[in-house]
C-alpha cells in the first residue's frame, strides 16, 4: 500500500526534516522552540502519541479507498506497540499518519485527531511538522536501500540529522555498526541489508525522538539478521526510553519484542491487548485465524494448516457491518448489518466483535464454542475427493528421483575487463527419493534458488552431475506467481499451451484436462478466461500451480511460492501444494527461507549456507537435534516460541568472497583455529541414521 502512494526515499527525507529547511537549529534553538511553540510532552503526563477516530479516505480515479475507518490508538512512553495486519489493513497508512505524511499526497479526506508529543499533526503547519519530526519522531522503513539516498555517503546523510560527525559516529556505534569510522564514508550500496537498516535506525535515533515508527523493518532481511535488528530495537528502548510503533504482518516478530499488540483488519482495530493476551487468549475470530494460520516450530502440527475463508479485505468497499464478517464463519445477521465497536473486553484487552461482547461479561468462551471455531475453519482449498481419473495419469512413483552429484555453478560477474567468478553452488550433493519431499532452507545468497534452477536447466552447471526426469516431467512454481504468468495471455491459453507442448493434440482432451487441473487447485473455471492482472494473489498462485500440474509432473520444484503472500493466504497455498503432492505422487523440492514452512511441507530438510549443504536429515532430526552451529542459530532466530536465543553475529559473506576453510567460521561461535584453514566435509552422523553435517566439531561433540 505504501509504495503505491509514496516514494520511500522522499518519506525518509521528510521524516528527517530535510524538506525545504536544510539548516538544523542548534540545541539552544530547539529548546527555545520547544518552550513557546510546542507544549512538550513532559508538561502533560501520559501518552507519546494519541490517535482518535482517525479516518483516511484516498481518492483515485473514480474510486474511494477507505484506508482507515475510525482508529483509536495511544502509545505510552517507552512502549513497543506492534501493529499487526495483512496487506490492505491500513497499518501503513496509520504509521504514515503519525509521521504527518499522509496529508502530503493525493489529497485524501482525513477526519479525526492525531497528536504526537501533544502536537496536533493534522492541523500543524509544515514548519511545526518539521520540528516535530526532527525532535520527536523517527522512522524506519522496510527497504533501507530505497530510504537512503543512493548518491550520498551514509555519514553525510547522518550529519544532516545530527549536529556533528562525532555524534553521527557515536550513533552508528550505538546501533552496532562495526567500525563506524570506516562505514561513515560508505555509500548505501556498499553496506549489507542489515547494516543499512542499522544506519536507518541510527538516523531515526538522531535527536532522541520519543517515538519511532518502524514499518516492516525486518521483512526484507534474513532471519538471523532479523533477530539482530529486533534485539537492537529492544536495546534502543532500554537505553533511550524510545517508544516504537512496529508495523508488521508477522505475529512472530510482534511476539518477540512488543509489549502490546494491535490487530488491524479492514482499516479498523479489531483487537488489542498485551502481547501475552493476544497470543494466548485471542478473542477476535480474525486474530484467532491469524494465529492458527501462522507456522511455528513449536507443536506437532504437520499436514493441514487451518486456513481462513476467502482472501484479503477490499478497501474500495465500505461494509455495512463488521468488516471481517464475509470471512468469518460465525458471523450472524447482526455482524453483517451493524458494525461492532472497539470495547473493553477485560483489563487492557479491547475487542471489536459482536460474538464475544454479547456473551460479555462471561469469563471465558466455553468448550462448545471452541469446537465451533475449529469447525469454522472450513477447508476451502479442498478439491473434490474423487479425482481417480487423475490418478491414472500420475504414474507410480518410479522415475521421480532427483540426484545431484557435486554440483558446481558459477557465474561470471563484473565488467568485461575485470571478471569475477561468483560461485553460487560449491559442490552440492543431494539424493531425493521418488515421492518424497525435501525442503531446501537457507538465507539469501545460499544458492538455494540456483540449485532449483539448475535442476530444470535454467542455469548451466559448471561441473557435477544432475539426474532428473526429462524436462516435461519436472515442473517449477515460481516465487512471484503473477510474474510467471504471461501478462497478455489468459489462464486458459497458458494451460492449453502446456498441454499442447506435452503432445496432447485433441482439443476436447485438453479441455477435460484443463477442467480437472482447475478443480485440483481450487480455481473456478470462470477464471480461465482471466489474465494475470485480473486475478487476486491467491488465484495467481493457483493458476501457476494449475499450469505446473495440468500434465502431472514427476517432480515439482517450488521456489518460495508463499514468501510474498499474506499469512492466511500462504497457509492455503501450502495446504494445496501438500495435497497435490499426495494426490499426484510427486517428488517435491521446496525452497524456503522459513524453517517453519519446511516443517509443514517436507519430510527431509537440507540447510544451505554459501553454496553448500551444511546439514541434511529428516525434518525431525534437523529441527529437534540440529548439529551444525548455523542450523542451531537459524532455528533459534525463528520468531515465536520460547527457545533459547542464539543470535548469530554478522551477516552471510558474499558468494564473491567466500571465507577460507569452513565458510561459516567468521560467524560461528564454536569456531576453533583449524576452522579458518580446513574445509569441512559433509559427515554422516553415526548416532542418527541419514543425518549429515558439514562440521567435524559438532559431530565429535555429539
Amino acid at each position: 500500500m505504501r509504495s503505491r502512494f509514496l516514494n520511500s526515499q522522499m518519506l525518509a527525507m521528510r521524516v528527517e526534516g530535510l524538506n525545504g529547511n536544510p539548516s538544523r537549529p542548534t540545541s539552544q534553538d530547539s529548546a527555545q522552540q520547544n518552550t513557546h511553540s510546542i507544549t512538550t510532552e513532559s508538561s502533560r503526563s501520559g501518552s507519546v502519541a494519541e490517535v482518535t477516530g482517525l479516518k483516511v479516505t484516498f481518492k483515485r480515479a473514480n474510486e474511494n479507498i477507505f484506508a482507515l475507518r475510525g482508529v483509536d490508538l495511544s502509545i505510552q512512553p517507552s512502549e513497543i506497540v506492534a501493529l499487526v495486519g495483512e496487506s490492505g489493513s491500513g497499518k501503513s497508512v496509520l504509521g504514515l499518519s503519525l509521521l504527518g505524511l499522509v496529508t502530503h499526497n493525493s489529497k485524501p479526506e482525513i477526519s479525526g485527531k492525531v497528536s504526537v508529543a501533544d502536537i496536533d499533526v493534522l492541523s500543524a503547519t509544515e514548519s511545526q511538522l518539521q520540528t516535530l519530526r526532527r525532535h520527536h519522531l523517527g522512522a524506519v522503513f522496510q527497504d533501507p536501500m530505497t530510504s537512503l539516498n543512493p548518491t550520498m555517503r551514509v555519514g553525510k546523510q547522518l550529519n544532516e540529522v545530527t549536529t556533528s560527525t562525532k555524534e553521527s559516529i557515536e550513533l552508528l556505534r550505538s546501533v552496532g555498526v562495526p567500525e563506524p569510522e570506516k562505514r561513515f564514508g560508505a555509500f548505501p550500496f556498499e553496506l549489507s541489508g542489515g547494516l543499512r537498516q542499522r544506519v536507518m535506525i541510527a538516523m531515526a535515533l538522531a535527536g532522541s525522538p520519543k517515538l519511532i515508527v518502524a514499518d516492516e523493518p525486518t521483512t526484507a532481511l534474513d532471519v538471523t539478521v532479523q533477530a539482530q535488528i529486533l534485539n537492537l530495537i529492544l536495546s534502543v528502548r532500554e537505553q533511550y526510553g524510545t517508544s516504537f510503533l512496529l508495523i508488521t504482518h508477522d505475529l512472530g516478530v510482534a511476539s518477540m519484542v512488543a509489549d502490546r499488540v494491535v490487530v488491524m483488519y479492514g482499516g479498523q482495530i479489531v483487537e488489542t491487548g498485551s502481547t501475552k493476551t493476544i497470543l494466548k487468549d485471542p478473542k477476535h475470530p480474525y486474530t484467532q485465524g491469524l494465529l492458527r494460520s501462522r507456522l511455528t516450530l513449536e507443536g506437532t502440527t504437520t499436514g493441514r494448516i487451518s486456513t481462513m475463508i476467502g482472501e484479503g479485505y477490499d478497501a474500495r468497499t465500505l461494509p455495512l457491518g463488521c468488516g471481517f464478517s464475509p470471512r468469518c464463519s460465525q458471523s450472524t445477521t447482526l455482524c453483517r448489518e451493524s458494525a461492532p465497536e472497539l470495547r473493553t473486553y477485560s483489563k487492557d484487552h479491547l475487542l471489536s466483535c459482536w460474538l464475544e461482547t454479547q456473551s460479555y461479561p462471561g469469563t471465558q468462551s466455553s468448550v462448545a464454542e471452541e469446537v465451533k471455531v475449529d469447525d469454522a475453519y472450513v477447508d476451502t482449498t479442498s478439491p473434490t475427493k474423487e479425482a481417480s481419473t487423475y490418478d491414472t495419469h500420475a504414474s507410480t512413483p518410479s522415475g521421480g528421483e532427483v540426484l545431484v552429484g557435486d554440483l558446481v555453478v558459477s557465474f561470471k560477474v563484473g565488467s568485461s575487463r575485470k571478471k569475477d567468478s561468483l560461485k553460487a553452488l560449491r559442490g552440492v550433493t543431494l539424493e531425493v527419493k521418488a515421492g518424497s519431499a525435501l525442503a531446501i532452507v537457507g538465507e539469501s545468497g545460499s544458492g538455494k534458488s540456483t540449485l532449483l534452477r539448475s535442476l530444470v536447466g535454467l542455469n548451466t552447471p559448471s561441473s557435477g552431475s544432475i539426474t532428473v526426469p526429462p524436462s516435461g516431467e519436472i515442473q517449477m512454481v515460481f516465487q512471484d506467481a503473477g510474474a510467471s504468468l504471461t501478462p497478455w495471455m489468459t489462464v486458459q491459453e497458458l494451460l492449453d499451451e502446456r498441454l499442447f507442448a506435452a503432445g496432447i493434440r485433441s482439443k476436447s482432451e485438453r479441455q477435460t484436462r484443463t477442467g480437472l487441473a482447475c478443480e485440483s487447485v481450487g480455481l473456478h473455471s470462470q477464471m480461465l478466461a482471466a489474465k494475470a492482472f485480473q486475478l487476486s494473489g491467491g488465484q495467481r498462485q493457483r493458476a501457476a500451480l494449475a499450469r505446473a500440474i495440468v500434465v502431472p509432473p514427476k517432480v515439482l520444484l517450488c521456489d518460495e511460492p508463499t514468501s510474498a503472500l499474506d499469512v492466511s493466504l500462504a497457509a492455503i497455498v501450502l495446504n494445496l501444494i501438500a495435497e497435490l503432492r499426495q494426490k499426484l505422487h510427486m517428488t517435491l523440492l521446496f525452497v524456503t527461507h522459513d524453517l517453519a514452512v519446511a516443517k509443514i511441507i517436507a519430510e527431509e530438510v537440507a540447510v544451505m549456507y554459501l553454496g553448500q549443504v551444511v546439514e541434511r536429515g529428516s525434518t525431525r532430526q534437523i529441527l529437534e537435534s540440529p548439529m551444525h552451529p548455523y542450523t542451531k542459530s537459524l532455528i533459534s532466530a525463528v520468531p515465536g516460541g520460547s527457545r533459547e536465543r542464539l543470535t548469530l553475529k554478522g551477516e552471510p559473506a558474499s558468494p564473491l568472497a567466500v571465507p577460507s576453510g569452513c565458510s561459516f567460521h567468521p560467524r560461528c561461535s564454536e569456531a576453533v583455529n583449524k576452522c579458518t584453514e580446513q574445509e569441512q566435509l559433509l559427515y554422516v552422523s553415526k548416532a542418527s541414521k541419514g543425518h549429515f553435517v558439514r562440521c567435524g566439531i559438532a559431530l565429535e561433540g555429539k
Binding site: L458, W488, A544
Partner: protein, 293 residues
C-alpha cells in the same frame, strides 16, 4: 523556413518525441483526452481517404482565375498560380504525404521487428552481427541517402520512399531488441520454457506482444518526423513529378509568391503542420495511455 526543415528533420528524427513540456503536463493526467489524441490518426486517415469526395475541384485542372484569395470565387483556400483549387490540392497532397509516411513506417516495422527479434532471441554472434549491421544503417544520413537513391533511379515518389525506407528501420530494430531482452529476463518466459513451449512459439506468444506498447508509441511519434522528412525531400524536388499535388513541392514552387499571394505557399505548409502535429499528439497520447495501464 521550409529549407531549415529539410536539414533539421534528420536530427529531429533521431530525437524521438516532440510536443512542448507544457502541453505534456496538461495531457498527462487526462485519460479521456489521451484517448482522443490517440484516435487522431484514424480521423486523419478517414479525412484523406475521403479526399476525392471532400475536394470541391479536380486538383490537377484549373477551375477559375489564378491567385484568387481564400474565400473568393468559391475557392475556400484560394487558388494557385494557374487557377487550381488550393483546398483540393492540399487535401490530395495530405493524402500522398500521410500514406507515404505510413508506408515507410510499415516497412520500417517489418524490417526492424524481424531483425530486432531475431537478434534478441538468437543472441551470441548472430546478435552481434545483426546489431552491427543495424548500426551501419543507423549511421547513414536519411535525407542524403534518399537524394542519392533518387538521383540514381530518377525522380519518383516510390524512389524517395525506398531511399527513406532504407534508413528508417534501425531504430525499430533497437527498440524491439531491447524490449525483448528485458522481457526475456522475466519469470513468465522461464515458465513458458519449462512448459515446453518451443522457441518460435515463445517469441510470437510470450515476447512479441510485450513489445507492442513501445512499438506503437515509437511508431506514432515517428509519423510526424516522417511527414516532415518527406515534405523536405519533396521541397527539394525529390518527390512525385510536377503536376501532382505534393505539399512540400507546392510550398517550394509557390515560395516566390509568398509576399503577394501568401496562401499559395502557406496552405500546403499548414497541411504539413497538421499531419506532423497529429503524429506527435497521437504519440504523446498513446504514451500516456500505456503508462496508465
Amino acid at each position: 523556413m521550409a529549407l531549415v526543415g529539410v536539414f533539421s528533420t534528420g536530427d529531429i528524427s533521431r530525437m524521438r518525441g516532440g510536443t512542448s513540456v507544457k502541453l505534456k503536463s496538461l495531457v498527462a493526467n487526462n485519460s479521456r483526452l489521451n484517448l482522443l489524441l490517440a484516435s487522431l490518426p484514424f480521423l486523419v486517415t478517414l479525412l484523406v481517404l475521403l479526399a476525392p469526395v471532400l475536394a470541391p475541384h479536380n486538383p490537377l485542372v484549373p477551375a477559375g482565375p489564378a491567385f484568387e484569395p481564400p474565400g473568393h470565387s468559391g475557392f475556400i483556400l484560394g487558388s494557385d498560380s494557374v487557377g487550381r483549387d488550393e483546398l483540393s490540392r492540399v487535401l490530395y497532397g495530405m493524402r500522398t504525404s500521410w500514406f507515404s509516411a505510413l508506408a515507410v513506417i510499415a516497412s520500417g516495422l517489418i524490417i526492424g521487428v524481424t531483425i530486432g527479434s531475431v537478434a534478441a532471441v538468437a543472441g551470441g554472434w548472430i546478435d552481434t552481427a545483426l546489431m552491427r549491421f543495424t548500426d551501419i544503417f543507423l549511421s547513414l544520413p536519411g535525407p542524403v541517402l534518399a537524394i542519392a537513391v533518387v538521383a540514381a533511379l530518377g525522380p519518383s515518389l516510390v524512389h524517395t520512399l525506398i531511399g527513406v525506407g532504407i534508413v528508417w528501420w534501425p531504430f525499430y530494430a533497437r527498440v524491439v531488441r531491447g524490449e525483448i531482452r528485458a522481457l526475456a529476463a522475466r519469470p513468465h518466459l522461464e515458465a513458458a520454457r519449462l512448459s515446453g513451449v518451443k522457441v518460435v512459439k515463445r517469441t510470437f506468444r510470450h515476447l512479441l506482444p510485450g513489445t507492442l506498447p513501445a512499438l506503437v508509441v515509437t511508431a506514432s511519434l515517428d509519423i510526424g518526423n516522417l511527414v516532415l522528412t518527406l515534405a523536405g525531400l519533396s521541397f527539394l524536388g525529390l518527390g512525385a513529378p510536377a503536376p501532382s499535388p505534393e505539399l512540400g513541392a507546392m510550398s517550394a514552387r509557390n515560395l516566390t509568391y509568398l509576399l503577394q499571394d501568401y496562401w499559395t505557399a502557406v496552405m500546403p505548409g499548414m497541411g504539413i503542420l497538421i499531419l506532423a502535429l497529429v503524429g506527435n499528439l497521437a504519440g504523446d497520447g498513446l504514451r500516456s495511455l500505456m503508462k496508465d495501464r
